[in-house]
């Protein structure tokens, strides 16, 4: 079960995998996420579905190495199987014909907005996609996004590709010029989503964010992912992951995101020491 059918390295630290999960592929909708475990002793990590293939029964995930679990996941090869893979979790994106909309993706968030962008375009929207990263190498899924959207704008912080600067600068220009943007989706690092919301606020355009909280079960059982939305506690796993970005308590959200930072760091270091040792031992043989 949950066999890795295709693995691609999109960048040094960003990977794409197509996982065999026929039932999930049948029912998944854009905006939803899955939770996976590599092994019995592993942790449960949520990942937004980047793409799916109903016919072949596949789910695509895209992840960046940010700690032990993601690094260990990156070492798995085609043919390997995951211990657990559950979904589709969370609410689907509210896809309908709004008119002209913008999708903004940063980092691995680029992968997450991909299926949302495609569905919005299929629903009749004109979709402008803005994707950004620190440099050219970190821009992923450019071809897919180009196909999925009506117009694709790329930014890099260092100007090595596309426009120099942040996605928010381009976004601001568009909003300033075009009064008719109906809705915006933004997915990426917390700080990017927060700044995007600050950018769109004066223009009063609905801005939807997809939150990537720390979760355990992902089905509404534990409350690890709770977040304050407009003064009310909500669960990202069952009420979200998408919320009105203007209502999110970002300070609380970002604090809770790094709840286990120290332990995660320690666990990663131990893992790296161990894998380094293993490689050395093999070298000696």
């Amino acid at each position: 079960m949950y066999k890795i059918l295709k693995k691609e390295i999109l960048h040094d630290i960003i990977y794409s995998m197509w996982i065999e999960a026929p039932e999930i592929a049948q029912s998944v909708q854009p905006g939803q996420f899955i939770i996976l475990m590599i092994k019995e002793k592993g942790e449960r990590i949520p990942l937004t579905v980047a793409d799916f293939d109903r016919e072949r029964g596949l789910i695509r995930i895209v992840f960046q190495i940010v700690g032990k679990t993601s690094e260990e996941l990156s070492t798995l090869e085609e043919g390997d199987e995951l211990y657990s893979f559950i979904g589709p979790l969370g609410k689907k994106t509210d896809i309908k014909n709004y008119g002209t909309v913008i999708t903004v993706g940063g980092g691995t968030g680029i992968a997450c907005i991909h299926s949302i962008t495609r569905a919005l375009k299929e629903a009749g929207n004109k979709v402008i996609s803005i994707i950004g990263a620190r440099n050219k190498d970190l821009i992923i899924m450019e071809e897919e996004l180009k196909l999925a959207s009506s117009e694709l704008i790329i930014t890099t912080d260092d100007g090595s590709y596309g426009r120099k600067g942040f996605v928010t600068q381009v976004l601001k220009e568009i909003l300033y010029q075009d009064q008719n943007i109906k809705k915006i989706w933004t997915i990426g690092p917390a700080i990017m989503m927060k700044v995007t919301c600050e950018t769109t606020k004066p223009y009063q355009v609905d801005t939807i964010v997809s939150l990537n909280s720390v979760m355990v079960d992902g089905t509404g059982m534990c409350g690890s992912c709770r977040v304050t939305i407009g003064g009310e506690t909500k669960f990202v796993c069952t009420d979200g992951p998408e919320f009105d970005g203007q209502l999110v308590d970002w300070t609380e959200f970002m604090n809770r995101l790094i709840r286990y930072k120290e332990q995660e760091q320690r666990s990663w270091e131990i893992y790296q020491e161990h894998t380094h040792l293993c490689k050395c031992e093999k070298g000696i043989e």
């Binding site: 002793k41 592993g42 449960r44 657990s84 979790l89 089905t219 609380e252 709840r259 332990q263």
Partner: protein, 477 residues
């Protein structure tokens, strides 16, 4: 075979105490607290049973175990026979022998209770189940005509497991769906290792699989497949997905980093084995001073888990008095032995934090008891101006659960009440849609393992009747 002692002698004898791990030692490990009877101890306790002509204990057992009969087999030193006797109606004996509140069920109606020394039925049940497991004795698969009808059971906690096992024994094709990666529900994510070792739960579930129950994990009914869809593929359905949504106090500061629901705290510790971090990848907060809000069994489990994880001080904070504590007396006793500090008549009003979101304290109010409330207990009333701060660095909310709507949301015409629990006929556990039954916490709210087992049994019987009469969900399309 052990000696049958005269009735007079039986009544004179005292209860055989259960050996336990020393409190000073056990607060540093997650191993089981009660160590179980030896053969000799079990026989000695079993010999006290009066073997009443009209036993009351059986009626006190939701799992319908023929208690005097299995106890008699212990006296006869036929432990395998005792095990087979229990297995006739209870497929989770090592579990129920440990976590049932026997003092409120079978033991409270024991004739010897009048003398204040009822038979320790649970301990004997546990002995028999453990003996069978250790001696590789397995239930015999009876030759039953396999039936064609298919039943789906949603949720693999005690209600689902029991219903599935009973139906499989009757020859039905049973598929048990579990959302998590391991079956067992609250038995694996909720109840701690030191009360219910997970290897034992796994063993008894394996035995149930051998009867023919097909267990599918990682399968979230309501997300991957709706109940409506299941109803097209199965002849009957039993919904036992548990209450499963945590409740919070709704006080300021409750979303600070180190505030947990008991569900999260216990799931990290039990299901994910965070106490073995970093060997296991799931982290958990190691608080120096932990406050658990609530005084039920889950609160005791949480406070005792925090202690074992390394808390120097572990508090129970409860708004009522000692008299109203809902946890089992044995759990409270164990908690006290281990040094859990009880703050009665105390109501948390605010969790205090620093700018990084870390918990630095909890502000509380002192309470006093007033008139009786609708629950028949004296209502706790806050004393104005009695605010004080408990210095803590983590808080666990153990104030109960509510209905998780995922399953119910995918079941058309299966009605729920205003709290989100399924409405069922008490006698059959039938929901408002013919062919769909429900039991356990998703009907009762937060209840006990044994009441869930009882619901599973009642539903299995009703489902069998429904199917035997030629009816099927699939025909109702």
């Amino acid at each position: 075979m052990a000696e049958m002692i005269p009735v007079k002698e039986r009544m004179k004898r005292n209860q055989v105490p259960m050996p336990e791990q020393e409190p000073k030692k056990r607060i540093y490990n997650f191993e089981e607290v009660p160590l179980g009877y030896t053969k000799k101890q079990a026989i000695r306790e079993a010999q006290r049973c009066l073997q009443c002509k009209v036993p009351k204990c059986i009626a006190g057992c939701p799992a319908e175990i023929n208690i005097p009969k299995f106890i008699e087999k212990i006296v006869e030193e036929d432990f395998a026979g005792a095990y087979f006797e229990i297995l006739k109606t209870d497929d989770l004996p090592a579990v129920t022998g440990r976590v049932c509140p026997q003092e409120e069920q079978c033991q409270v109606v024991c004739i010897l209770e009048k003398q204040g020394k009822p038979i320790y039925i649970g301990r004997l049940e546990r002995f028999v189940a453990d003996w069978a497991r250790e001696n590789n004795i397995h239930g015999k698969l009876s030759q039953i005509n396999q039936k064609e009808q298919k039943v789906a059971v949603v949720g693999s906690g005690p209600a689902g497991l029991t219903c599935a096992a009973d139906l499989a024994k009757l020859g039905y094709k049973v598929t048990l769906f579990e959302a998590l990666h391991k079956p067992g529900g609250v038995l694996v994510y909720g109840i701690p290792e030191f009360r219910l070792p997970k290897s034992i739960v796994k063993y008894e579930i394996n035995e149930i699989e051998k009867i023919g129950v097909k267990v599918i994990t990682n399968f979230v009914i309501g997300a991957i497949l709706s109940v409506d869809r299941l109803a097209k593929e199965y002849d009957a359905i039993f919904l036992a997905n548990g209450a499963g949504a945590p409740r919070f106090m709704n006080i300021p500061g409750e979303n600070l980093n180190d505030v947990y629901s008991a569900n999260e705290f216990l799931t990290r510790a039990n299901l994910m084995k965070a106490y073995n971090f970093p060997e296991y990848d799931t982290p958990i907060k190691i608080g120096k001073r932990a406050a658990t809000i609530g005084a039920g069994n889950v609160a005791m489990d949480s406070a005792r888990t925090a202690l074992r994880l390394g808390a120097e001080k572990s508090y129970i904070v409860y708004r009522r008095s000692r008299k109203e504590v809902p946890a089992r007396a044995e759990e409270v006793h164990h908690a006290e032995e281990e040094g859990i500090i009880f703050n009665f008549l105390t109501l948390p009003v605010k969790v205090l934090g620093d700018e990084k979101g870390n918990v630095i304290g909890m502000e509380c109010l002192k309470m006093e008891l007033g008139e009786l409330d609708e629950s028949g207990r004296r209502r706790p009333i806050p004393i104005t101006g009695s605010n004080f701060v408990i210095e803590v660095d983590m808080v666990i909310d153990a104030i109960g659960t509510s209905a998780n709507p995922i399953v119910a949301g995918s079941a058309t015409r299966v009605e729920i009440n205003k709290w989100g629990y399924f409405i069922v006929n008490e006698k059959t556990k039938a929901t408002t849609k013919e062919g769909i039954y429900a039991g356990g916490d998703i009907v009762r709210g937060s209840a006990t393992v044994i009441s869930a087992v009882g619901d599973g049994k009642i539903a299995a019987r009703a489902i069998s009747e429904f199917l035997s009469s030629g009816k099927s969900l699939r025909k109702n399309r």
